[in-house]
């Protein structure tokens, strides 16, 4: 009797989970469907769910109608995201080492300094950065974004890498030292295997946040170094229909993040929780 009731509750809760999942997927699914419709079918009321599919929106995104290629902004986004991610890993890993394996004095204060910079609103430093960039010729230069995205993600990366390196038992390091292992050996043989998943999670998060960034890119870049999110805002026009085109563009620009995030869901969780969840 209770067995059947428990089973029925289980089924109902499973159905509820499916329902919630589908509900959250709905806007995204609608975006994909609309991107595959013609502009006329995309703008009907009630919605034309079963309208014929076309790749016209994607052709428009790749410049069929206007001749404007999306590649320069996409390449800019890729450059800024990848270079800043590499810089983040290069700076965060040694710093995390100095905050966990061989900690400096007052290492918790340093760790919290890093986190506190994350709470300083980005907009508060925007104007001086703009003026400095203007005077040094860095305005509309992708390297400026590389530097700013690095500063945006470095605190998260330091926290994450520290939490990974802190997992290495001190005894193992001591044993290695007693056995006469030099620093390179310890780094490669003992720390690298522990740090590798941390590096992957850090890289994923750093890449996603850099790829997504809009405010700095909008204010500090123009026609040369404009990134994909800035390019995306340009698809909305005051005249004519643009919904399918915008949805196609939104799908294309989100694609790298979607692929990376789906492929590494567990890394996503580690990264988002600053390494607190393993």
């Amino acid at each position: 009797m209770t067995g059947t009731r428990v089973r029925r509750t289980d089924t109902l809760l499973g159905l509820a989970a499916w329902l919630v999942g589908l509900l959250f997927l709905l806007p995204f699914a609608w975006m994909v469907l609309t991107s595959l419709h013609s502009e006329a079918d995309a703008a009907t009321n009630p919605p034309s769910v079963a309208a014929p599919l076309t790749l016209q929106g994607y052709r428009e995104f790749f410049g069929a109608g206007t001749g404007v290629s999306p590649w320069p902004p996409l390449v800019n986004s890729l450059t800024a995201s990848v270079l800043s991610t590499l810089l983040v890993l290069g700076l965060a890993t040694p710093a995390a080492y100095a905050l966990s394996v061989r900690p400096v004095r007052r290492w918790t204060d340093t760790l919290f300094f890093f986190l506190s910079t994350k709470m300083l609103p980005a907009v508060a430093g925007l104007l001086p950065l703009y003026l400095i960039a203007q005077n040094t010729g860095l305005l509309d230069n992708i390297w400026l974004l590389v530097i700013l995205y690095t500063s945006m993600n470095l605190p998260i990366a330091v926290w994450m890498m520290r939490s990974f390196l802190a997992e290495v038992p001190q005894e193992i390091l001591e044993a290695a030292a007693i056995d006469g292992a030099g620093l390179p050996t310890v780094l490669l043989r003992v720390l690298a295997p522990v740090a590798a998943p941390g590096l992957a999670a850090t890289a994923l998060i750093s890449f996603i946040f850099s790829w997504n960034e809009l405010l700095f890119a909008r204010v500090l870049t123009g026609v040369v170094a404009g990134t994909a999110p800035v390019f995306l805002t340009g698809f909305v026009t005051s005249q004519g229909l643009f919904l399918a085109k915008v949805c196609a563009a939104a799908v294309c620009v989100s694609l790298p993040v979607l692929v990376a995030g789906f492929a590494a869901q567990d890394k996503l969780v580690q990264g988002l929780s600053l390494g607190a969840v393993k």
């Binding site: 997927l25 009321n45 905050l99 919290f112 709470m119 500063s151 909305v236 995030g261 869901q265």
Partner: protein
């Protein structure tokens, strides 16, 4: 046993290391320790702290880019102007309301979905993947999607569904002008619920199964288990999710900029400062606003940091 059970604090590590490597007390050793930290530390100070000093300096200046001749020392005039401006005060309230609503609602929804996903059922991995999709859509893309494909009053999905259900006479609200702030919040809740869900789900899955099993054998109800076992275990995860969510949502620019362009009472602080600087070209006033934003965030950030610190202490213990 003796070293393993010691709190993994700085003292304990120094103690342990003291036995094997007494050389670390020498100043050269201290600098060797600091060396790997310095590049990151110097980078962060130069890129985040120095610009803020610049903002602080400019906030005391009369400086409008459209009036270069009028540049000079302005004392506290910008602060008087900023604090006397009802638009700025409104945007402070808007920021608080927006952040609190989005974080609270997505935390609750995230908790609900995490509890649903913590159970075994057919297609659980697929549902989890579906749930995190909103978080992986680029925020600007998401804002454009909500504005044009969902909220639009003539061809948006929401009104389209109303027509499909209610026929030609169905109400067709213009969501963005009828409930502008709610519309912005809803789109952000969609984006941030997966974030909360992921952290809370990881928390649920690290819950010791034996304790739950034992409680169930002892006849505890599901609600009792949730209230007395699950919730206390989840507390640090809830705090972490709320804190990190707040850090990101309080700075939100993309949704406000794209959905409403700050109109109809949706302008939050980042957007207001952006407008003063980018459209108003009043560098002095924008800087004063920036400093006020920092002052306010510092209050909240101090509280938040204290929370992380206590979590952190509990973790390293």
């Amino acid at each position: 046993m003796s070293t393993a059970s010691l709190p993994d604090s700085l003292e304990a590590r120094a103690l342990r290391r003291g036995r094997t490597a007494p050389a670390v007390r020498r100043p050269r050793g201290a600098w060797a320790r600091r060396a790997p930290l310095l590049p990151a530390l110097v980078f962060m100070i130069v890129v985040t702290q120095l610009p803020f000093l610049g903002t602080l300096a400019i906030s005391f200046m009369r400086w409008n880019a459209l009036d270069p001749a009028g540049r000079g020392f302005g004392g506290l005039a910008n602060y008087g102007h900023a604090l006397g401006d009802p638009a700025l005060r409104t945007s402070i309230l808007t920021t608080v309301e927006l952040t609190a609503t989005v974080v609270a609602v997505s935390l609750l929804l995230g908790l609900g979905t995490a509890l649903l996903l913590d159970r075994r059922f057919l297609g659980r991995g697929l549902v989890r993947t579906m749930m995190i999709t909103p978080f992986l859509v680029v925020p600007v893309a998401s804002a454009l999607l909500w504005k044009h494909a969902l909220y639009n009053a003539s061809y948006g999905l929401f009104d389209g569904l109303l027509t499909a259900v209610g026929g030609a006479g169905a109400p067709q609200p213009d969501w963005l002008s009828a409930v502008p702030l709610l519309a912005v919040e809803a789109s952000l809740v969609w984006q941030w619920t997966p974030f909360m869900m992921l952290i809370l789900l990881a928390g649920l899955q690290s819950r010791p199964a034996e304790a739950v099993e034992a409680a169930r054998v002892d006849g505890a109800s599901s609600w009792q288990i949730f209230r007395h076992l699950t919730l206390p275990h989840l507390r640090p995860y809830l705090e972490l999710a709320a804190l990190l969510g707040s850090i990101y949502v309080v700075q939100n620019f993309d949704a406000v900029f794209t959905l409403t362009s700050g109109g109809l009472g949706t302008a939050n602080l980042p957007y207001t400062v952006y407008r003063t600087f980018y459209d108003g070209h009043d560098y002095g006033l924008a800087s004063a606003e920036g400093v006020i934003v920092v002052a306010l965030t510092t209050v909240i950030a101090t509280l938040a940091l204290r929370t992380v610190l206590s979590l952190f202490r509990a973790e390293t213990r």
